[in-house]
């Protein structure tokens, strides 16, 4: 229902005179706006249905942490799908790499460094990323150079890496993890607090304004048509407002009283009347996901690698004729996907405070769904990183909302499946209309 309304919104923007003029001036992506609209409708819908439980700082903060792992992987999946490939192995890869990182920090490193060594978390993460890159590279090599279809290679990978995760510890769960490593999972300690959150927010606002200004200067240098000044100001103000609003929300979620009291005692802060209000601030996994999103967007939009990825997706033959080493580009995409799966594995296992061999099961489907809902076309050549990340949040919102409403688990799966199909169907209609 929600999506249907959003689609009507999208359809109407193409006809409305003032709306279309506004969109032309700001050069905003109507599809992305439609998705944000759908997200808003879903949020408000759940808020009303749950009697005011959904749009609370606490729920939104948890939602952001829960979306992080899938959001991180979905950014890589966009590039994979854009080049007309698929990666079914990311869930199993997450499980296996998580297991490797768990064993590294809980069994292997303590033999040399002892427990809770300050370097443990970074070594474990580096090992995980290296293993992820190697596995991704191996799969990419088989796909790009040996010519085995990605569907088959990664379907094999799905079985192989899940089996390997089991094998590493013979199915035993590895816990507890290093306390510094655990910060990557969020939780009461894994957030950066109010002050740092504001600093991050302000830096982000400044970066946004700088980007707008630099783009404008570049256009003026070549005498290209400029956006009207009001549109630039509008983008800057709305963008900054959105960033600051997000910060305000995460800062409005206080630490639980017991943890706040312990924190106060540790830091010699007097506890005032009526309890202490200490903000969570931005969760570290969310910060990591946003960082990954920014880097991946940069890669996709501003580098040769990204340009080649999209060109290969648009017309593989033309890319070869243009002299692009398409095989190597393809292999790099799968290496990147492996690295992202490793980062997601760090987030997931840190959040669980354990590495289990079932971790990441069925994540490949969530990741693919997030990318596709986010506007990545399975026929290749089209997709955005930001769209996929919003897609991940959208999927997680539906899951969280249904849990808040107490919907039965089987029904939850049914709803998620229906939403996926309907969203892609609406997207096909939208694309057809825009093309004509």
């Amino acid at each position: 229902m929600a999506d249907l309304a959003a689609a009507q919104d999208r359809a109407s923007v193409t006809s409305g005179g003032m709306v279309s003029r506004f969109l032309k001036a700001t050069e905003l992506d109507t599809r992305m706006l439609g998705m944000l609209g759908a997200l808003a409708i879903i949020w408000i819908g759940f808020h009303i249905l749950s009697g005011g439980l959904f749009l609370t700082p606490r729920n939104l903060w948890n939602l952001s942490v829960q979306s992080a792992s899938v959001a991180i992987m979905s950014t890589g999946m966009v590039l994979v799908i854009v080049t007309r490939n698929i990666d079914l192995s990311v869930g199993s890869l997450l499980g296996f790499v998580g297991m490797v990182m768990g064993v590294t920090q809980a069994s292997f490193l303590p033999q040399f460094l002892g427990f809770e060594h300050p370097a443990t978390w970074i070594i474990a993460l580096a090992v995980g990323i290296a293993v992820g890159a190697m596995i991704g590279g191996l799969q990419g090599f088989i796909i790009a150079y040996l010519g085995v279809p990605a569907f088959i290679v990664t379907l094999g990978g799905l079985l192989i890496w899940r089996g390997s995760a089991w094998w590493v510890t013979s199915g035993r769960t590895v816990a507890p993890l290093d306390s510094t490593f655990r910060l990557m999972g969020g939780g009461a300690n894994g957030a950066i607090g109010a002050q740092w959150s504001w600093i991050v927010g302000i830096v982000a606002c400044v970066a946004l304004v700088l980007l707008l200004w630099m783009a404008r200067r570049q256009r003026r240098r070549f005498n290209f048509p400029l956006r009207p000044l009001w549109a630039e100001v509008f983008l800057g103000v709305v963008g900054s407002g959105f960033i600051l609003a997000c910060i305000a929300v995460v800062n409005a979620y206080p630490l639980p009283p017991a943890i706040a009291r312990r924190y106060a005692e540790d830091n010699n802060i007097p506890i005032p009347e009526g309890g202490l209000f200490i903000s969570h601030g931005i969760a570290i996994p969310v910060l990591m996901a946003v960082g990954v999103g920014v880097i991946m967007t940069f890669l996709a939009r501003r580098t040769r690698f990204g340009r080649y990825v999209f060109a290969i997706g648009g017309n593989p033959e033309a890319a070869v004729l243009a002299g692009i080493n398409t095989r190597w580009v393809m292999m790099k995409i799968f290496i990147l996907m492996g690295v992202l799966a490793a980062i997601a594995a760090a987030v997931s296992s840190a959040r669980l405070n354990a590495a289990t061999n079932a971790m990441g099961t069925l994540d490949e489907l969530l990741v693919i769904a997030a990318a596709v809902i986010g506007g990545t076309s399975l026929s290749g050549g089209v997709g955005t990183i930001a769209g996929a990340m919003i897609g991940a949040v959208l999927m997680q919102s539906i899951a969280t909302g249904m849990i808040l409403l107490g919907v039965d688990t089987p029904l939850q799966n049914i709803v998620v499946g229906v939403v996926l199909v309907v969203a892609v169907w609406l997207d096909t209609i939208y694309r057809k209309r825009v093309k004509v």
């Binding site: 070549f222 340009r307 060109a311 648009g314 017309n315 033309a318 004729l321 243009a322 050549g381």
Partner: protein
């Protein structure tokens, strides 16, 4: 074979710009190109004509690096050229306008023009503004009314797409230009524009291989005609030495008229074998 090259060498008075010698390629036992030799001088337009499947496009794709030949050699200005992929060909100044246009439909004109040769800023990122600026300049020369620089080329008309493909070929100061059916998607006015462009490039000293089905176009633009049939060269002729009917006879029957130099694919050779 050697007689042909000596003939043209003496008439041009120097080494040919590009020379394809005894090129062969087969796909699964079928000789798509069989022992074909062609040459091209600076400032010359050589038309390759023949039926569908005669091997024209295949021969040209060997020169542009898209296919790897089984036998034969390529010389650029008298020196043997090593062309194993499209990048190598571009290094020798060989640019190609493919029949299929070979455009990435989902990106804009500038991205297509610079595909594989992107301009970058000093930080190594794509310099989109500079690329768009260069694109505006070259497109202004080819198709002054073209304004849709921000749209993916899939949304452009056939003629506009064609001009993007042509712009890409002339942007990098090509010495040798291969045009595979460059006017197939164009209306009469745009076709005339392409003809003007060919003459202009020719005057600049660029050698052009022109593949075309339009025999009038060929006689209008080309200096020499190379006729191919079943992967072999039937014969080579100056457009001034033969009539359109004679060329059609070469294409259809493989019959070499007196004004043309017969190749290995000419009728008498075929019957003798």
């Amino acid at each position: 074979m050697t007689e042909i090259s000596e003939n043209t060498n003496s008439s041009a008075g120097n080494v040919p710009l590009v020379e394809l010698r005894n090129i062969s390629i087969s796909f699964g036992g079928i000789h798509a190109v069989n022992n074909a030799s062609v040459e091209l001088n600076a400032g010359e337009v050589v038309a390759l004509v023949g039926h569908n499947g005669a091997g024209k496009s295949t021969l040209i794709k060997i020169l542009s690096g898209a296919y790897k030949r089984d036998a034969g050699s390529i010389y650029v200005q008298g020196e043997e050229a090593h062309i194993a992929n499209p990048r190598d060909a571009k290094r020798y100044g060989i640019e190609t306008i493919y029949q299929t246009l070979a455009l990435a439909d989902n990106v804009d004109a500038a991205a297509n023009l610079f595909l594989g040769r992107e301009l970058r800023t000093r930080w190594g990122t794509l310099d989109d503004a500079a690329m768009e600026s260069a694109t505006r300049r070259v497109m202004g020369r080819l198709n002054p009314r073209f304004q849709r620089f921000k749209e993916p080329v899939s949304s452009l008309s056939g003629g506009q797409r064609q001009s993007v493909a042509i712009a890409r070929a002339i942007l990098f100061n090509a010495r040798i230009l291969i045009m595979d059916e460059p006017t197939a998607a164009l209306g009469p006015q745009e076709t005339a524009q392409v003809s003007d462009l060919v003459r202009q490039l020719k005057a600049d000293g660029i050698g052009i291989f022109l593949i075309s089905h339009d025999i009038h176009d060929v006689f209008d633009l080309a200096d020499r005609i190379v006729v191919m049939k079943n992967g072999q060269v039937v014969g080579t002729a100056r457009t001034s030495d033969v009539t359109e009917d004679e060329v059609l006879g070469m294409i259809i029957l493989g019959k070499c008229p007196p004004g043309a130099v017969p190749g290995p694919g000419a009728l008498q050779v075929a019957t003798a074998a």
